[in-house]
Structure formats: C-alpha cells, structure tokens
C-alpha cells in the first residue's frame, strides 16, 4: 500500500502539505468508519486505502464492520436495486428482517467515534445510538429515482444524521440535513492505474493475440446490460464501415449475477465471425486491464446507467480520448468537447469515435485535458482532502470557515 509521500511526484508537495494542515486540525477526534464488509466491493476497496492514509496524516481513523448474514444481505441487495430504480418486490417481512439484524448490531457495535461515518444503507439504523457525537451518512448509490417505499423507510434514519454525502448532484434530494457532494476517486499508484513499461503492455497484447496494426477501441466493463456491450458492438460496426479498426470488450461477470452469462452469450452472438472484435472474459486482473487501456486509441463507456463510472477516470488518467454516455457521474468527469465526448445513443457514440480516429490531434488534446482534469479532481488525494473538510464542517456551519 502506497505511503502518502509517494503521491508527491504526481500531485506536488504543496498538495500533501495542505493535507497535513487539515490533519492537524482534526487531532484529538476519533473518526469511526462503519460499513458492511471488510473485503470486496468499492466501499471496502476505498476504505482499505483511505484509512491508513488518514492515519498517516495524523487523523485517528478507525474502521468497524457490522454483522449481517445471508437473509439480511439478501434484503439489502434488494434495497440496493430498488434504490437504483430497478423494480423489486420488497415485502413487509424484508423490512422486519432488516430491523431485526439492525437491532442486534445496535446492541453489539460500539459507536465510540467522535464522528461516526456510516457507509451505505446496511448499517444505517445504528444512528439510533447517536448520543452527543456527530454522525455522517455516505450514500454510494445512485438514488436519483429511488423506490419510494425503500427511500421513505431510510428517511427515518437519514434525518437523524448530521450530514449526508452523495457522489453526484443528480443523486441529491431535498433533505432536512446538510448534504455534500464528494466524488469517488482513483488511486494513481494502484495496479489498475500506475504507469506500465511498454514490454508489459506488449506482453498482454500478445497473450490475447491482439495486433497493434490498426487502431484499438476498448470498453472495460462487466458484461451487464446496463453497460450496453451490444450497443458498443453496434457503434463499432458503424465506425468499421469507414475506418479500419478493432474493438476489445474486456470485463468479467459478477458471481452473484446469473444474468451476466446471458449477456455474454448475446455479445458473443453479436460479434460472431468478426475477427476485429475481441471479447475478453478477464478475471480480476488489474495489470492486464491497465495494459489494455494503455494500448488503446479510444476508450468507450457506453453505459445506460452508472453509479459513478470511475472507469472513465481510469481511462482519462491514461490520457486517452474517451467517448462516454451522459449518465450518472460521467458528466462530472467529462466536459463535452473539453475533456472527452459525451453521447446519448449508438449513433452518437459511433460519430464521436469516428471523429476521434480521424482527428488524432483533437483526440490527443482531449486526452491530455482529461488527464489534467482527473489529476485536479478525481485522485485519492482530493478524496482525502474532501473527507477531512467534511469532518471539519460538522463543527463549522458557516459558508466561509476561517481556521486561524
């Protein structure tokens, strides 16, 4: 795991100095993160990196996990889907199961933090224990069009927190508490994003029998309908009529997602007999994904819906020109025609890809702008800074906080 000073060559000494200044202001406060799992999933991944870095910056950060069980997590999975706006049948028994497990956790989890930072809905009921300390609720989900019953149920808890945090402005709703916008981030030193030598990139291309004799377009995503891999192939076929190029669709399927294999079959069917379409079912292999992105000329993220879409930041960090759907957190990462191209349809995606392949200078400029944008706004150092400011905001209600 990278140490804080290892980020200095990427973001500059002064940025790290600022983080240390903030760390000093939080001396004496215990920040207790609580979520539902120590491994797997985006929240655990980011906490695994952030908690040690916060400690290094002088913040007394801790991390605790609630206990669940199969039934409870079955219910919270359905809550998760319903909050994303997917139709789910939620029964009264589901709410009871949620409350029974929550009640046990209320009895067992010690909420000792000066600031208790609860991630996502699973541990949300712990707020009943609020007793003079500060409580934050971090919502990592797109709740722009949530199931009203589930949202109303959660609102009873949300209203008890001091502040809530969302990843994109469109996820925010009218709330009786303060709410902040904090985007997720990528770690530039992780295997997925670090610089790679050309030998590594070439070795990965050789492994998958991909020749660099024509431009490469890639989408890295789970084989999931919401990522529209079939739409990507359709866009590619439209481009291919005019430009000699090849497409890589790389990703995995979640083990708990039986639909993933169905989608993969549809994708294979659509790509049948086309030697320019490479479908790579990759297990979690960050270095290979990194290498494939770096070998590509255009990176696509043609999602129909996105929580945030951090693959866009990963692509832009590699200074690649990106074509992505205007959904979820993607417009925060791409300003159309400044740091990438946004699209709304197969035709729009195909037009944008053609533009980039035909105008390499324009494509290069968008990629360079994109990398700068990610450097300034979507690296883990910015995320650390926002979290520390968030903690300080709990003690300062004003709009201009003078910390002299």
């Amino acid at each position: 795991m990278a140490k804080i000073d290892e980020y200095i060559p990427l973001v500059g000494q002064a940025v790290i100095d600022d983080l240390r200044l903030l760390g000093e202001r939080l001396k004496g406060k215990v920040i207790q993160h609580i979520n539902s799992t120590p491994v797997g999933g985006g929240v655990a991944e980011i906490l695994n990196r952030m908690v040690p870095l916060l400690v290094e910056l002088g913040v007394d950060a801790k991390w605790d996990v609630i206990k669940g069980g199969e039934q409870f997590f079955g219910v919270t999975k359905r809550f998760h889907n319903a909050l994303h706006g997917r139709p789910e049948e939620i029964t009264r028994r589901d709410f009871e199961i949620f409350m029974e497990t929550s009640q046990r956790n209320i009895g067992e989890v010690n909420t000792y933090g000066d600031i208790v930072f609860v991630h996502d809905p699973q541990p949300i009921a712990l707020v009943k224990k609020k007793d003079g300390n500060k409580w934050l609720w971090r919502c990592h989900i797109d709740v722009s069009e949530p199931d009203v019953r589930v949202w109303a149920f959660l609102m009873d808890f949300i209203a008890k927190f001091d502040s809530a945090v969302f990843s994109a402005p469109s996820f925010s709703r009218k709330l009786p508490i303060r709410q902040f916008l904090i985007s997720p981030s990528i770690d530039p030193l992780s295997d997925k994003n670090k610089e790679l030598p050309p030998e590594t990139i070439n070795a990965v291309l050789r492994k998958y029998d991909i020749k660099k004799d024509k431009p490469i377009i890639i989408q890295v995503s789970r084989f999931d309908r919401l990522k529209d891999p079939v739409g990507v192939i359709e866009a590619f076929l439209q481009v291919r009529r005019y430009v000699d190029c090849q497409l890589i669709l790389a990703g995995g399927t979640a083990e708990d997602d039986p639909e993933g294999f169905k989608v993969l079959d549809e994708v294979r069917e659509k790509a049948r007999n086309n030697p320019d379409i490479h479908i790579l079912l990759l297990p979690q292999n960050d270095i290979e994904i990194n290498a494939l992105q770096r070998a590509s000329d255009v990176i696509i993220q043609k999602s129909i819906r996105e929580g945030f879409g951090l693959t866009v930041s990963e692509a832009l960090w590699k200074a690649k020109p990106v074509v992505a759907s205007n959904v979820g957190g993607i417009p925060l990462q791409i300003k159309h025609k400044y740091s990438g191209l946004l699209c709304h349809s197969v035709e729009g995606a195909s037009f944008a890809i053609k533009q980039l392949l035909s105008s390499p200078e324009y494509a290069k400029k968008l990629g360079e702008n994109g990398r700068e944008h990610i450097k300034n706004n979507f690296l883990i150092t910015r995320h650390l800074r926002d979290y520390m400011l968030l903690f300080l905001s709990l003690y300062h209600p004003e709009d201009v906080v003078q910390l002299y």
Binding site: D17, F166, I182, D399
Partner: protein, 223 residues
C-alpha cells in the same frame, strides 16, 4: 542589484480549500434558472461562477461559468451562453452585484426571445445548484520581501493563489487582491501593486496566473 525592501508586516500565505454543499434545488428551464439565481445563497452564485476556473484549470483561455455552459450545451441557447460567459467578473466587487448582472442578462434574453422559455433540459441534465463552503487555513509560508515572495509563489498550491487573488476580493469583499494590498501597504510599492491588480485574472489559467505574477515581480526586482 539594490537591496530589497523589508516589509513592515510579513505576508503569510493562506490556503483555501472548498467543499461542495448540495442544495437539492434543480432547474429544468431558463425561467426556473433565473428564479433560483435570485434566491439561492451567495455561496451558490460564487460556486457556479468560479468552480470551472478551479476544476478546469488547464483550459485556456476564459473557461466558462456553469450557467453559461448549461445554457449553451444543454439548452442550446448559444447567444445567451455567450452573453453569460462574457460577463466581466472583474467589474463586480460583490457577489450581490454579480448575481444581479447574471439575473438581468437571463431575464432580458427571455423578454426578447420568449420561445426560449419553452426549452427543457432532458431528464438527468438539469442544473443543480451547489454551494461552495470555503475553509481558509494559514500555511507555514511567511515572507518579508519580494525575493521570498517569488520563491513561495513558485511552490504554493494553486488553491492559495486562487484564494489571495479571487476569493479575497469578491467573496470577502476586500478592495483589492491580497498580494497588491500587502505590496502597497507593507512594502510601499504602489506601482507594483497596481500592476498586479491591473490585469484580468479570469482570462488565463491558474498556472498561467502563477507564471504571470512571478514574471511581474521578477521584472520589478531586476529594475
């Protein structure tokens, strides 16, 4: 080279870090945008006229403000977008005046182009009003003369330069930027102070702004 003047009072560089606070308010039409602009807190107007400058600091020249960007890119009202982007922020010494100018610009446009009222943003492309919460912290960089001043300018964060140039003047309603104030009042160099306050910092990127400041001061020292 003549000996550099020592300041009566040292200059302590501060840094300004911001957190975005969501209001839950969203506009779908120009009419709604105009109405919200009148009623949202000043820190919302500040956020949407200055955020682009900080988040897109690599773009040059003249990055647009959020209102101009939304009006042009989402509603397709390029003429109004152009009017909004060309508002000369330097002319306004308070957020109140800037808000008034933006509001009048949109209302005048709607009067002359009533059909523009009928344009709606697509679902998911609404304008979301966000507040900027600023945290101002003193850094450990303290200088007593122009040589030290340049040295720190080279290494301080863009956030610090941003704070002393933009935020001090418009948001904290000081008569000039912090650098010019210190150079005039503690170093007694009014000419240099005027030269710094005389250029429009909104027309360059923040890194260009840093370089221009360094150049101006270097030139002064070498005289």
């Amino acid at each position: 080279m003549p000996e550099l003047a020592k300041a009566k009072e040292p200059f302590r560089f501060c840094t300004r870090l911001h957190l975005s606070e969501l209001t839950g308010l969203r506009a779908t039409t120009l009419g709604q945008l105009a109405a919200f602009i009148k009623e949202v807190p000043g820190s919302c107007i500040y956020h949407h006229t200055h955020r682009f400058l900080q988040q897109h600091q690599y773009l040059s020249p003249e990055p647009p403000n959020d209102f101009a960007y939304w009006v042009s890119e989402t509603l397709g009202e390029d003429e109004l977008g152009e009017k909004l982007v060309s508002i000369d922020t330097m002319q306004y010494s308070t957020i109140r005046e800037l808000r008034e100018k933006i509001s009048v610009t949109i209302e005048d446009y709607l009067r002359l182009n009533p059909l523009a009222k009928l344009k709606f943003a697509r679902n998911g492309e609404e304008f979301h009003f966000i507040k900027s919460v600023s945290f101002v912290l003193p850094t450990n960089y303290v200088v007593y003369d122009l040589a030290g001043f340049i040295e720190v300018l080279r290494k301080i964060t863009i956030d610090s330069i941003y704070f002393h140039i933009f935020e001090a003047r418009l948001r904290l309603e000081k008569a000039t930027n912090d650098f010019s104030y210190w150079i005039e009042n503690s170093l007694g160099d009014k000419e240099l102070a005027d030269r710094i306050s005389g250029f429009d910092p909104y027309t360059c990127t923040l890194e260009d702004l840093r370089n221009r400041l360094i150049q101006i001061v270097e030139k002064r020292i070498s005289v």
